[in-house]
Symmetry: C2
């Protein structure tokens, strides 16, 4: 006899929720949506959705991200499966929190309007549904952890960026002031960025040279340990 199903087991809903980070040049932000259905309709929420029968959780997260932002090939990473029995009062739902980093300039505002999506600075987040606050906290921590050793923050920047912009990003992520000289030395020593001939002229009178990410080296060095932030926890 061939067994077709596991009997006497509990089936449940599996969802993914996306913690979507963006950087506006000054502050790290999170993209939240206004929930369009019950329960908790009208409250702020992470963008999420259910895992369907023909996709794995990573695919589901990518699909949902595309739904909201119009973007494909986004940096996406599984964070943690949240599954307290009553986290969603409607029905038992386990949700895999995924964190993603996007270039805030590229996403399609049009689409995100349909979801009443808004960017919130991390320090001014509204109250969110269910255990989404916990998910966000974990994602922040993970980002700080990851960015200390891997050049993942470049995912948040446009194709062309300046060193002061990059530094602002690091300073905002770590809530710290970083020495300009030491920072640029460290970044340049990674060999990850290529200096451009043109300058960005809005921020200052002198203007700052643009840089581009060397995508070849980025791929190659992503998993190496760059020690971009020597002691992330010691900072304040």
């Amino acid at each position: 006899m061939h067994i077709k199903r596991y009997t006497h087991q509990n089936r449940l809903l599996l969802a993914v929720d996306c913690i979507i980070f963006g950087f506006d040049g000054t502050h790290l932000k999170l993209l939240l949506i206004k929930r369009g259905f019950e329960p908790q309709k009208g409250r702020w929420s992470l963008m999420g959705g259910f895992v369907t029968h023909d996709e794995n959780p990573d695919h589901a997260a990518a699909r949902i991200l595309k739904q909201l932002t119009g973007l494909s090939d986004i940096y996406l990473e599984q964070l943690y499966a949240f599954g307290d029995p009553y986290r969603d009062p409607t029905e038992r739902t386990v949700s895999i929190a995924c964190f993603s980093l996007i270039d805030i300039n590229k996403y399609e505002e049009q689409i995100s309007h349909e979801y009443s999506a808004e960017w919130f600075p991390l320090k001014k987040l509204p109250s969110v549904i269910f255990d989404h606050k916990e998910m966000i906290e974990m994602a922040k921590e993970k980002l700080r952890y990851k960015a200390a050793f891997h050049p993942v923050l470049f995912e948040l920047l446009p194709d062309k960026f300046t060193l002061p912009q990059l530094q602002s990003l690091y300073e905002d992520v770590y809530d710290a002031i970083i020495d300009k000289r030491n920072f640029s030395r460290k970044i340049l020593s990674t060999g990850l960025v290529i200096k451009q001939k043109d300058k960005e002229k809005n921020g200052s009178k002198k203007g700052a040279y643009y840089y581009k990410l060397d995508k070849r080296k980025y791929q190659a060095k992503f998993d190496a340990f760059l020690h971009l932030i020597p002691n992330p926890n010691g900072l304040k």
Copy 2:
């Protein structure tokens, strides 16, 4: 009208599979069981089980670990949710791989016999069912990553251990030869270990002093970056 369930959504089975590491003094090992039910009955497998209606995935993993080893308060960490639609041919099942580290001397052999469990050195693993090979590979990588910065490998050792034992463990995990002098300097400088008055006398004529983990400092420093292995990827 109050909505009681999410309609038109696909419900599925959620499982956890445990990658259980142990250290026998020489080699890092994995605890596998002989699968007791169809499909793939009789083949080697990670210890796993379904997440029940009244527990979250972490609880499920702890429960399953206790089932097999008799141990509570084990180091456990979610790794990744494996969810390709046909990974289990019987029925759609998403499985959260969890990795755990236990003191190989403490687990209860009695209980594990019921599951026909056996310890396998990482380099001599048998073929395993489904995507368990992939889970194991990811767990190995995660362990190497984590242990490079956090003193997590102590979870694998008995209460009393010697520096040469500790070094063997690191050498096996990183498949590398580490300089004794530099290693002990680094370990002692963390302040995590307390020298005992007695010696272990089996391994050598001179005998090696026992050390114990300073659990207070271990708790406090676990999340700090200790740089125990300066450049884990550069090793060979």
